[in-house]
Symmetry: C2
Subunit: 727 residues, 2 copies
Amino acid sequence: MTGSIRLLPLLLFVSLGNGGPAVAKEGRRWTVEDVVTVPADFDLSLANDGKSLAYLERRADLEKNETVSILHLLDLRSRVSREILRAPSAEQLRPLPKGKGWSLLLDRGVGLQLYALDAEGTIKPLLGRDAKVTVGQTEGGLFAVRSGAPRRIGILYHDWSPDGLWLWYATLKPRSEPVDVSVDDAVVGQRNRRRAPVKAIVELRLRSAIGEEWLVASRPSSDRLAFYFGGNVEWTEEGPRYQLEQSDAERTEGIGTFAWSFATKASRPIEESFGFPAIGLLRGPNGGTLASEGFGSALALTETRTDGRKIRYGGQPYYIGDPRSAGNWLSADGRTALLGVRTLSHPRYGLVMLTSRRAKPLIHSSSLTACDFRKDLAWGICVEEGLNQAPHLVQVAPHDGRVQTLAPLSSAHESIAPLHVTPHQWTNRLGYRSTGFIIWPRDYQASSRYPAIIITHGSDADERFASADMQWNYPAQLFAERGYLVILMNDPSARQQADLWNAYMEWSGGPGTLGPAKLRELIWLNGVYSFEDAIAELTSEGIVDPDRIGIAGYSRGSQMVNVAMTQSDILRAASSGDGNYLEPASYSDPKDGYHAVFGGPPSGNYLDAYRQLSPSLRADKACGPILQQMASPFAGAIDFYAALREAKVPAQISLYPGETTATDETHLFHIPSNRLRAMRENLAWFDFWLRDRRDPELDDRGAFDRWSKMAKQWKPGCTRALGAERR
Amino acid sequence: MTGSIRLLPLLLFVSLGNGGPAVAKEGRRWTVEDVVTVPADFDLSLANDGKSLAYLERRADLEKNETVSILHLLDLRSRVSREILRAPSAEQLRPLPKGKGWSLLLDRGVGLQLYALDAEGTIKPLLGRDAKVTVGQTEGGLFAVRSGAPRRIGILYHDWSPDGLWLWYATLKPRSEPVDVSVDDAVVGQRNRRRAPVKAIVELRLRSAIGEEWLVASRPSSDRLAFYFGGNVEWTEEGPRYQLEQSDAERTEGIGTFAWSFATKASRPIEESFGFPAIGLLRGPNGGTLASEGFGSALALTETRTDGRKIRYGGQPYYIGDPRSAGNWLSADGRTALLGVRTLSHPRYGLVMLTSRRAKPLIHSSSLTACDFRKDLAWGICVEEGLNQAPHLVQVAPHDGRVQTLAPLSSAHESIAPLHVTPHQWTNRLGYRSTGFIIWPRDYQASSRYPAIIITHGSDADERFASADMQWNYPAQLFAERGYLVILMNDPSARQQADLWNAYMEWSGGPGTLGPAKLRELIWLNGVYSFEDAIAELTSEGIVDPDRIGIAGYSRGSQMVNVAMTQSDILRAASSGDGNYLEPASYSDPKDGYHAVFGGPPSGNYLDAYRQLSPSLRADKACGPILQQMASPFAGAIDFYAALREAKVPAQISLYPGETTATDETHLFHIPSNRLRAMRENLAWFDFWLRDRRDPELDDRGAFDRWSKMAKQWKPGCTRALGAERR
């Protein structure tokens, strides 16, 4: 580990490492069921009178083998919480502008519809619409970016006018698609299609208190503003304003803002802009737009007013606008803003309160991941959680920074004896910093060297409790229980330096000035250097056994796993989750990105660039066995598997099923039995290859014979791969 | 054109070429509608009393925009034919053992069911079963190798015992598939999956004259003997014998023969064998099994008796067992066999009658493509057709070889003035012969050089009338009407030489002694040599213009088109139909074949072999514009398109739709509007690139601007490509 910007890592963890046993509380050990049943996706909503809190969570129901939404009601005086109902889907919990209750969308068997919840916990239907469109990853279903089982949609979105007199809602109608010859790009777009594209019409509707209705706009479901954000409505005295994506033959990425008038009962266009809609532009206490600007130590919060003047709140080691943060609020008088932030080092989520020109952070050792505040921002309720802290409800007073524990959100998880977890920053040979955490083996002894597993997935290593975003089907806590050192490592943050930021911009925007070779180094090899240098450091400290290092990651993490395994010789086993990017077979899906990374398609002169990075084209260089766990049978992943086996590298590809043969498991698995099985498969996989152990808990009893057979056939080409010979 | 085995080609065509105008009959010219409405897939069935013939044909119904089956009844005395009905599906026309009528499977809106047709043309339901399984290329449909729209199956198969007392039939039941994790090969098998696999149960049932029923066997639809052949039943005195594929964990390719007993009402196993079932093993007049053995001039017909002795019928320039031939019959006394044959040179279909040790061929200048004969083989009715001869019915007397015209099958096509067509054999630089035909430009003048189009598809160039097998959506007759010389060329036949035969065996069976490089030469480059040498010959004779040569082919032909375009510099435009084989993206679908051709998967050291042959990896070497017309959005075809465009080679990919967005057009297009449009697209494509003409009949008016734009961007890398500069 070299580089001058090294921060605290080793000093910190050595001291904490020794202090480990001291912080371990009494309690039981982790099970895979614990990981699956961690509650998540909290949605909090304070009653108007401030006397109660309604909240939603998503959680695995092991008995039903479904992930369900659970609605709770918490009396804030008695602190007594009641479970009101469980449903396959529940969302958009909003206080009714008049009265003490809430409205929400629920699926109680007739599709997603609008219901009211009163302060006593009674549920009543408010509005229902024909649910003829199924959304989900199934044949006949409309595709949408979301996890979960397919569901039928009656009401897609709802919002109340502040006076409670008007309901804005969106519904879906089937759209029968004429079949016609498609040509060129329209065919290329179907290259990786696995089921027929389904389309629907989003109807944006306005409904008065006495039940009169107006169809405000009718849009194809490809309009993301209409489909995902219900038209991003904003209420004015004259009527609702809403936004639509207007991609047609002439305007490819226009966004139109329209105003519907209560008086004329009609819409008129207000404004047209370009680029992807800035949903959730943050307003500051001076009427301007907030932003986090700059890199590394120069990162600063600014507010740009409509007159162009910029207010600088000074440098902060955190930034606003992260979708994982707790949310954003502006006080009723517009003079105080409360914003969710994410910290740069020791990544976690807190709040910052802005008043006039002053920024007051509210950042503790764990995270605030979901909140709701009173309109005057005097106080609110949040979910507090950390890697070592099961989520619980806290009362937060932003003005004095007071945080007071209210109630646990999962007492089952409170009974687990916390593992020892330490935050770190690693600096690699190029000087790039990666943040992350180490989860220490349950009974860590400084005198032993431990096998280690790196878990990587973009920037998701932060203070959240067993977050599926980060650890997916890699049961980090169980690895630690079994005696592995678990390294949760983020990619080098693009907020540390302009070049890296530009590389990511070029990757998403298409070829640019940095060029493919530099891009490949900054975004992929750079990450591999971080793995190698961190492991070298832990090895030199006598903590890990360099012959027993594994790596796991899904999605962006699967890219890093597959690249690391075919570029580096320090890793002895890997698990790669639901990935296929960088493979020639995945070309054309996100074409601009591929051209940025490789220069062009996987043919002609560009083929050599693919040979530099595409895992399947470098399978013969792999130094360790690779398991791929998939939610869909991506061709790129299958190619990597086939190339590994052709090169006699031990490999397995496991495809986890959806609810039916015509339905896929989702990228973030939502079927509890799949999560349990995938986690057990990972435990057995790493135990077999790193600890020479046949895990009796693995269901698939034929696996060990398959793996042993592959181990015997294998002659690792890389220098340090000794694992196979031990067998 | 070199090589010593050259047969008749030039001499023949020069004389016939000059004689062209003399043979042209009066009549109208071809239209694309004529090509689409050519009747095909005849199924003939003589009444027991020999007084009438029922027959089925498939034909495009332009008004309904469907391909339909039409049932006709022909009175053999009056020669009056009546159309009885049209249905989406009709098949398995069989004489009822008792009485004068027939039975057949018909889809009249409630799925495919069993009906009776009497001699007066009345249709009555005989047996119906719930049609809960849809077979076809659609989501939710069971895949089967067949063209046509998806259809629901009530009765899948039927057969009568010779005494007419027993009905053997097959039906389909839905099979609910448990979803489970799949691993390794089971995942690889889903690489190119475009919809969820649907499975069903085939029930083989026996029904007595009084309606008692027995379930004889219940098999998964993956049992090809059960699904496609209804168990391949054979009747004995004791009861029906039937065959099943028995692939399970232990036996991967076993075939079991079973006997069901009328007495015990139960089955017992008789025999077990291995390998793919030999459906339609041909019995000879000496009780043995017939075969065509040997290569080239040593090709001979043999009969191997059960005692192992072999009867040799002597050398013949034809072979038996071709699925396109008219069929096979054994007389009631077993002493005469009548067999459909295909000739080697001037490919066409005839019959050979075997008695004792004598073979008597019945081969005319055109083909007999479908027949039915009396039980004593005294006479029968056949469909006679040729490249220049619309199908008509003939009466055939095998014993004296007499063929007598009975009735036209499509008077509309009789009114077209025949084009001049000549058969040829071309010998290439390696000495391999390719058979084929030339369709001459309508008003051919020996003083002009003509643009030419080669149409290639395996061995389908033969004496059939506008056969969709051969010419697919390439309207050969229209090209000739427009002044192109059309060359219908077969691949060098594997029956001419052992090495070539072995190459094909190795291709289908997996890697062998010839090795990948030799295989690539014999099966692909060899064909390109044939194209090049034939064109050189026609050029040296002053017949074709070497700067205006195009090529078209689908399926196997698309391989040859794509390879020719990226290996040869003599072709100026191409149309490639519904192909993707040889592309890296298609790896793993037919894995053994790929390993035979390339040595292994498209990674590691094998990648160089792919660079030798895979069209998308050689796109920058393409010398002419390439149109791909697709029935499915195959990734390999899309990759080739993308690579061509990246190399600035003019290219288009057009995907033709099925009945709905969830349904595919089939490999042989079955939707008439698609065929019409695809043919017009081909006419316009070749006219544009070879004749610099903008066809006013093309629907897609934007096409010419797209094509012109591509022509301007293009800088052909190959020496002789001058086409672009002319624009």
